[in-house]
């Protein structure tokens, strides 16, 4: 079963995503970038759904940089999940190695379909 890490400081969004994906995937949660990196190192999730705007030591883009910088985690599939929907933001996410970009409020169907597509 695919292991999916949901990283968002907003507990309701984490909960919604866990409920949305939980019946098909093994869902882990992290409430900020620092915790996310610890979970990634420990659990090696296949997919990370990563909020950009998070308080704390690392925002989502910095977490993405960390994921891409280590060979063990570099190939992890990462989707950015954020309210920053400007073309510049999308480009920024892509250029830093994001595999997908979902703008909040996101379509749960699109998210679940994308996660499903990572299984193949």
């Amino acid at each position: 079963m695919l292991k999916v890490l949901v990283v968002d400081d907003h507990s309701d969004i984490r909960r919604l995503l866990t409920v949305t994906l939980g019946s098909e995937f093994n869902v882990l949660e992290a409430e900020d970038g620092e915790i996310a990196l610890k979970v990634i190192n420990k659990e090696s999730p296949d997919v990370v759904l990563l909020d950009i705007m998070m308080p704390g030591k690392f925002d989502g883009l910095q977490v993405l940089d960390q994921i891409r910088s280590f060979p063990e985690t570099a190939k992890t599939k990462v989707a950015m999940l954020t309210a920053r929907g400007q073309a510049y933001d999308v480009e920024e996410g892509k250029s830093r190695g994001a595999d997908a970009y979902f703008i909040k409020p996101f379509s749960p169907l699109q998210v679940i379909n994308w996660v499903r597509s990572q299984q193949r």
Binding site: D12, I52, D59, R84, K104, P105, S107, P108
Partner: protein
């Protein structure tokens, strides 16, 4: 870290947020998005349901037609028989049964009804019918039929072979017609 740094960091984090939009509002917006997707799913579900009902109806019609066709083929007074996709006889019409002295229970291969010299032609015809899924294949072949009681009667027959999917398998309907009588 002094209070100014803390404030700046706080501002930096807050800078990403849309002004005036708190977590509750985001939850509300996100729930609206879920509602839209659920509505879309419900619509797709209704469409799929309708499609499934239509397909079930069509399948039932097709099954009824298939039954009718089978009954028709077997009830008419002709040399009709049904084989499986290996050529084993499953059912025979009464006229066929009288000619060959067999019934559907005998499980004989259709080729065994004919003289060895003609079996190759028959197997070729059957092979062509197998390739033409659900198509009607007709070929005039001069076959010598081994009749009941080991007596050999020469017939000039046109075998028509029709393949029909039946409960996941293919059945072949054979109709042997004497061109002299057509």
């Amino acid at each position: 870290m002094n209070s100014s740094d803390s404030l700046n960091k706080g501002w930096a984090a807050q800078d990403y947020r849309l002004p005036g939009v708190d977590q509750l509002a985001w939850t509300q917006l996100q729930l609206y998005r879920y509602a839209e997707d659920i509505k879309e799913l419900a619509h797709s579900h209704a469409e799929l349901q309708a499609k499934l009902e239509r397909m079930t109806e069509d399948y039932e019609k097709a099954s009824r037609s298939k039954g009718l066709l089978e009954n028709l083929l077997m009830s008419i007074s002709e040399f009709n028989l049904i084989t499986d996709n290996r050529g084993n006889i499953l059912e025979v019409s009464s006229k066929c049964s009288a000619l060959f002295g067999i019934d559907g229970e005998s499980k004989r291969h259709i080729a065994l009804l004919f003289e060895p010299a003609d079996r190759v032609k028959l197997v070729k015809l059957f092979s062509e019918a197998c390739q033409g899924w659900n198509c009607i294949t007709a070929r005039r072949l001069d076959l010598v039929i081994r009749a009941q009681g080991s007596a050999v009667r020469s017939f000039y027959l046109v075998p028509w072979v029709m393949s029909v999917p039946h409960e996941g398998h293919t059945r072949f309907f054979w109709s042997l017609r004497d061109p002299e009588c057509i």
